[in-house]
């Protein structure tokens, strides 16, 4: 499970059948200082997140378990909205 910032939205009408209606968003993973770390990935969203939001997400097979239909080829899902996070005594402001 990781921290990220939502940076964009993606639309795909032709997609695996069990994924209809699930929002797809671009997320930038973050490090312990709230700075960008690693490549942007596309994730499903299990909450009502949107661009600019500070979120946490899950990768791997477990990502599919957060989707309405769990037998789907999904390897990244946003599972929570972060109101605030503190790291090394400092409040993160991504």
């Amino acid at each position: 499970m990781h921290l990220a910032r939502v940076v964009g939205r993606l639309v795909a009408t032709q997609q695996y059948e069990g994924l209809r209606g699930v929002p797809l968003q671009l997320i930038q993973p973050l490090d312990d200082e709230g700075a960008d770390h690693g490549e942007v990935v596309v994730a499903c969203s299990a909450i009502s997140s949107g661009p600019g939001d500070f979120v946490h997400w899950i990768d791997g097979r477990e990502a599919a378990l957060a989707c309405p239909e769990s037998f789907v080829p999904v390897d990244a899902t946003i599972i929570g909205w972060v109101e605030e996070a503190w790291s090394n005594g400092r409040k993160l402001a991504p």
């Binding site: 993606l10 795909a12 997609q15 994924l19 797809l24 990935v41 661009p51 080829p73």
Partner: protein, 98 residues
């Protein structure tokens, strides 16, 4: 999931029997700005993607969670054909414009 472009296909006669009748597509990975990377992956198609399509693919054991790939050797599956995406409010890719 990562964004990629279908740039070709891979055909192999001698292969694991569980890969038979599965479309193997050659995908070039693109970044969020739609810039191609020197990184390629061969993925099984589960949505009817074609040459030139921008697609999303899933990796790892998630890739086997489709009716096309379940119980088969597969570590990358194309699970969506991308229509469009935006980044920071700006449109980066629009299928119907290109």
């Amino acid at each position: 999931m990562l964004i990629g472009k279908v740039v070709g296909s891979v055909v192999a006669t001698r292969k694991d029997e569980k890969l038979e009748h599965r479309k193997l597509l050659l995908v070039q990975v693109h970044d969020q700005h739609n810039k191609p990377k020197e990184q390629y992956v061969v993925a099984i198609d589960s949505v009817g993607a074609g040459h030139g399509d921008m697609i999303l693919y899933a990796t790892g054991s998630s890739a086997r969670q489709t009716t096309v790939t379940e119980g088969r050797p597969c570590d990358a599956v194309i699970m969506a054909v991308v229509d469009s995406w935006d980044l920071g409010g700006d449109n980066v890719y629009e299928k119907w414009k290109s």
